[in-house]
């Protein structure tokens, strides 16, 4: 078990390192921070001085090694824009993002899974078809369209909810709903198909042939077995709690990590962008690790594989 966790942790570190490396190279290839920060009309010596200050005059592999070294000592660099610690800038924004993504995750779980399970239990019924249709609409309509439609209805036409900003809890409603709709659709689809597959298994029929009440068959045999694919999807959703709000935060001018990421990319604020990507990758990788551990708990077959 310990060995399993250790191997997975090492793999996680390698994954994060790959993400960081990719981001590092692409950011430096795709634009010159000096040009973006200082503007097009500055004299060449000002550009040179800027480059020297930030070490951009060095060959890229030297910059890279220095960067990796500083990461391992806990130094995530300084924002080129306001000279503040990049890590601090990013962490300041985390609560705002979580204010949207956590309630959205709860909505996804509390609506998506029960809707899918209900549809599976009442297959071919009117409710089942309704759930499928809504689910497809939910995850095929992109969030920027969904967000604008909701703004049009609730802010422009009805005037009951604010269309942007972070002043009151009312401001969080539309972005949270926008963000949860796609996830609700995905979870409903997955829970439905997972349940339908499990319900067709002989051990379910055997359980009711043993005289177990249908309710208990569902709770003690069907749901736990259907949980494996559902947990996979939920794991991804948890992993994207921090990153998942880029588009929605921009639509609703919500000052979270997503907005910071977009602003920092367009400013070529290298340290901040890299820091955000690192945190997003780490969150994703960690939640995958937790999902893997959950698999073992849910399915003993996978447990023994992990043990060896």
């Amino acid at each position: 078990m310990i060995r399993f966790v250790f191997v997975r942790l090492m793999r996680a570190v390698i994954t994060i390192l790959a993400v960081v490396t990719f981001a590092f190279v692409v950011l430096r290839m795709s634009g010159d921070p000096a040009q973006v920060m200082l503007g097009p009309d500055v004299p060449q010596d000002a550009v040179d001085a800027f480059r020297k200050t930030w070490g951009l005059d060095q060959p890229i592999w030297i910059q890279y090694l220095a960067y990796i070294k500083s990461i391992f000592t806990g130094d995530f660099g300084v924002s080129m824009r306001d000279k503040a610690s990049a890590l601090r800038l990013v962490l300041e924004r985390v609560p705002a993002t979580l204010q949207l993504t956590l309630p959205a995750l709860i909505l996804k779980l509390m609506i998506g899974i029960p809707a899918g399970v209900y549809a599976a239990l009442h297959r071919q019924s009117f409710a089942d078809r309704g759930v499928i249709t809504l689910a497809i609409i939910g995850f095929t309509v992109p969030s920027f369209v969904m967000g604008l439609v909701l703004v049009l209805i609730f802010s422009v036409l009805l005037g009951v909810l604010p269309s942007g900003g972070q002043d009151t809890w009312m401001h969080g409603i539309l972005p949270t709903i926008t963000m949860s709709i796609g996830g609700i659709g995905i979870l409903a689809r997955f829970s439905r198909s997972a349940m339908i597959e499990v319900l067709g298994q002989p051990y379910i029929r055997t359980a009711s042939a043993k005289g177990l009440k249908w309710r208990d068959v569902i709770w003690s045999h069907a749901l736990p077995n259907a949980a494996v694919p559902i947990v996979t999807i939920v794991g991804f959703m948890v992993g994207s709690l921090i990153a998942g709000a880029v588009v929605v935060e921009s639509i609703f001018s919500w000052p979270g990590i997503g907005r910071l990421l977009i602003v920092s990319v367009s400013n070529r604020d290298l340290a901040v962008v890299q820091c955000i990507l690192l945190i997003i990758a780490a969150a994703m990788v960690m939640s995958n690790l937790v999902v893997d551990l959950l698999y073992g708990w849910l399915d003993p077959r996978l447990r023994s594989h992990a043990g060896h």
Partner: protein, 332 residues
């Protein structure tokens, strides 16, 4: 002696729709079957795939409702599916499936699976449960150290033993085994069949043993019913049916079973296509493949009738002249 379980003119029709806008066509999976099983007796049910064997098994247990006809257990009609009376009856009748891995919940240990019927029907006080589980596992030939194992950690034969132990936990009077050994190696098959027979004799359980494998049925069944497209075409004691089959379909089946040490003689090879339950031939459903089919077989469905010595068969050729004379007279 009264029958433990009786089926009376059971009918089960499935509507099968082909394609999105296709018209639904009825599949008569079980088409008017009557049979009875005495306490402690084993009835073998044989037939090709699609002959309705498994549907019949589920209907006998009340897992699949009959569209018409009735199942009586110990003289009283089967309660409605899902009612508390129906659930209480589950303790007395159990089911063993073909694929033991699928029949076991992969998340639970063997001991937990075996103890579930005990919990459901509150049969054994908690403090005696472990002892009862150990007893059941010993009865099916599982080692006591396998109690904590998960299904995937056992071999196929061991899994089927666990399934059987679970089925026996509530001390049932009837066991419906639906192809219980078809997924197992031949050597393991014999072990499991012998074990089933021992357990049955020891506990006086009646058994409905569904299989397409005549060798296995011959080994275990007291009586055999042969099914063809949802109907019983012949029923007789196991000895008789394998020695002197009457129905041409049974003859073909029996002739295909090799006997050790002897060359396969007098083999009847069936012509024509295997039966399609959605497209049932007119008259006797077997007539397109029957070597002795006559005109009457194309138009008139032969009734299952007694042919002496407690045997029944549904064939114009077997039923003799009385049947055809009767039918001719009716048509005239």
């Amino acid at each position: 002696m009264t029958a433990l379980i009786e089926a009376d003119e059971l009918v089960r029709i499935y509507e099968v729709r082909r394609g999105l806008f296709g018209r639904s066509s009825p599949v008569r999976a079980v088409d008017g079957i009557s049979l009875a099983v005495m306490p402690g007796e084993t009835l073998g049910i044989v037939g090709e795939s699609g002959s309705g064997k498994s549907t019949l098994g589920r209907m006998l247990l009340g897992l699949d409702p009959a569209q018409s006809g009735e199942v009586r257990f110990e003289g009283s009609p089967m309660p409605k599916y899902g009612t508390s009376g129906w659930r209480a009856l589950r303790a007395k009748m159990q089911l063993v499936y073909q694929d033991p891995l699928a029949a076991l919940d992969r998340r639970l240990t063997i001991a937990a699976q075996i103890s579930e019927p005990l919990d459901i029907h509150r049969l054994v006080p908690k403090e005696h449960q472990a002892a009862r589980i150990a007893e059941l596992m010993a009865a099916v030939g599982l080692r006591s150290d396998q109690a904590g194992r998960f299904p995937h950690e056992l071999s196929g034969g061991q899994r089927q033993r666990a399934v059987i132990a679970r089925a026996l936990a509530s001390r049932p009077k009837l066991l419906v085994c639906d192809e219980p050994v078809s997924a197992l190696d031949v050597s393991i098959q014999a072990q499991v069949v012998n074990m089933l027979r021992d357990l049955q004799e020891k506990n006086g359980i009646a058994m409905v043993f569904i299989s397409h494998d005549l060798k296995v049925v011959r080994n275990i069944a007291d009586r055999v019913a042969v099914m063809y497209l949802g109907r019983v075409v012949e029923e007789a004691s196991s000895d008789v049916i394998f020695r002197l089959p009457q129905h041409p379909y049974t003859k073909a089946l029996v002739s295909s079973v090799p006997i050790p040490g002897k060359p396969l003689e007098g083999r009847v090879i069936l012509q024509g296509e295997p039966p399609n339950p959605a497209n049932r031939p007119s008259g006797c459903a077997f007539h397109p493949r029957c070597p002795v089919a006559r005109d009457i077989c194309r138009t008139s469905v032969p009734a299952l009738r007694r042919t002496g010595n407690g045997r029944t068969a549904a064939c114009h050729a077997v039923a003799g002249e009385t049947a055809s004379v009767e039918t001719l007279r009716r048509r005239a």
